[in-house]
């Protein structure tokens, strides 16, 4: 059986925390450049120019892209032929977050109790989603999530009779109501199916897909395009100043549903759509 040391995970996580907060993925940068070409509103164009300049400054001067360096969210696919030595996975990841956020001068944004609200001082605990998969590899995805866009999330337990139109109305109305709050242009993650908790996770996972990569099923790829069109017709525009580009992409993830249920969820990401991935 293959062995991986907890300290290896910790070092890797620390690196990932810093990388994700300094370097925006090329897929997102390309989408922002395309948005600048498509945007008609002068105020919207000015916003997109500032956003692109900000990405360059972050990279060249090593300043975090956004001051909200996020809740540290991890997706771990653990090969079942791998044995972890020298500690628990949870503690290995949390230690990596402590190290990465301290050494990277990243913001500590987590309070220890939701109502008492005392900062933990090291940005832990992380939110960790782990699944066991066949094989002897470990894949870790880190997606820091800002509070402003995370607050603009919603789950609705629709009726099966609401169908595709019910899903479209829910998603588009939710983005309309969110307006300028989640820092448009946004990426819209949509979950459809499963249970109450599953659908929220689907919406979050949808945000991890490279921007512009359509759903593999033509039906859902078309629905993504329709939602993107309807969202961009809202006129909210970059930062809500009015314009053509409210969303850069809509990604849908689905799961089988109960005969009585049609759950739907929206998880919004701001234009600083950060995620990095490593395979050990």
């Amino acid at each position: 059986m293959r062995e991986i040391k907890a300290s290896t995970i910790t070092e890797l996580v620390a690196e990932m925390c810093q990388e994700a907060n300094l370097y925006l993925g090329e897929d997102v940068v390309d989408a922002l450049k395309k948005a600048l070409l498509e945007e008609e509103s002068p105020a919207g164009k000015e916003v997109l120019k500032q956003i692109l300049e900000n990405v360059d400054i972050a990279r060249s001067e090593q300043i975090p892209i956004c001051q909200d360096t996020g809740f540290a969210v991890f997706f771990v696919e653990w090969g079942q032929e791998v044995h972890l030595t020298g500690g628990s996975l949870e503690e290995a990841i949390n230690e990596g977050v402590r190290k990465g956020y301290r050494e990277g001068y990243l913001r500590k944004s987590i309070v220890s109790d939701p109502l008492e609200r005392i900062n933990t001082g090291d940005n832990t605990p992380a939110v960790i989603h782990t699944i066991l998969v066949p094989g002897d590899k470990v894949k870790i995805t880190f997606a820091p999530k800002g509070g402003g866009s995370e607050n603009m999330s919603a789950v609705k337990m629709l009726k099966p009779s609401d169908g595709v139109e019910g899903v479209v109305d829910f998603v588009v109305n939710h983005v309309r109501e969110s307006g300028s709050n989640p820092c448009p242009p946004i990426v819209v993650g949509v979950g459809i199916g499963g249970t109450f908790e599953k659908v929220a996770l689907l919406a979050k996972k949808a945000l991890l897909r490279p921007l512009g990569q359509p759903h593999p099923k033509p039906f859902y790829a078309n629905l993504e395009q329709r939602l993107l069109r309807e969202i961009n017709n809202l006129g909210i525009g970059p930062q809500g100043f009015g314009g053509r580009v409210t969303a850069l992409a809509v990604h849908i993830e689905t799961f089988p549903a109960h005969i009585a249920s049609l759950p739907a969820a929206v998880n919004i990401n701001c234009h600083v759509a950060r995620h990095v991935e490593r395979v050990i």
Partner: protein, 183 residues
């Protein structure tokens, strides 16, 4: 697009000269405050106790920066969502605050208070914290250091870019923008 230069502290005349949609460049001293500091300031105001900063003519920036690296003035420093401060904003305007900088929607009570007390709500580009940090030339904590990133900082800014969202006349750029581009 014309750009208006603002020097802090702001007067009623400065505020009344601004209209929703205007681009501004702010220079001078501004103060930071977000959720936790607002809660503390509001409690002091309600108890009639003195505030750690004089709000007359002041600009409050809703920001919780990343820590400064050695040699840096401040870390990444972009605006946070303003709606969470709605509960406290009318109270601060009554105490003399003239402008606040954040991003995102404000409620009806804030818009009404901006008219009543002659104030403006400005937005900086959310998610442009690295760029905005370059316009901050000095930074020091002046109250609530125990709040860490949520402490009140006194910032000196030079040509800090923002856009007028809600002016003192009841106009709203977010509404006007949607009207112009929705289809």
């Amino acid at each position: 697009m014309t750009v208006k230069h603002l020097q802090t502290p702001l007067s009623d005349e400065d505020v009344l000269g601004l209209k929703a949609g205007d681009s501004v460049l702010i220079s001078g001293v501004i103060y930071t405050a977000r959720d936790a500091a607002h809660k503390k300031l509001a409690e002091l105001i309600e108890r009639g106790e003195p505030l750690p900063i004089d709000l007359k003519g002041q600009v409050i920036y809703y920001v919780g920066p990343t820590p400064a690296k050695p040699g840096q003035v401040i870390g990444s420093a972009g605006p946070t969502t303003s709606g969470r401060m709605d509960k406290y904003t009318p109270l601060l305007l009554k105490e003399g605050m003239k402008a606040c900088i954040g991003k995102g929607l404000r409620n009806a009570a804030v818009k009404e208070a901006l008219k009543k007390y002659k104030g403006v709500y400005l937005a900086a580009v959310g998610g442009a914290g690295a760029l905005l940090s370059k316009r901050i030339i000095s930074s020091e904590v002046v109250a609530y250091p125990e709040l860490g990133t949520e402490a009140i900082y006194r910032l000196e800014v030079k040509d800090f870019p923002a856009t007028v969202i809600n002016d003192a006349y009841g106009n709203d750029l977010y509404e006007e923008g949607i009207k112009a581009y929705a289809r």
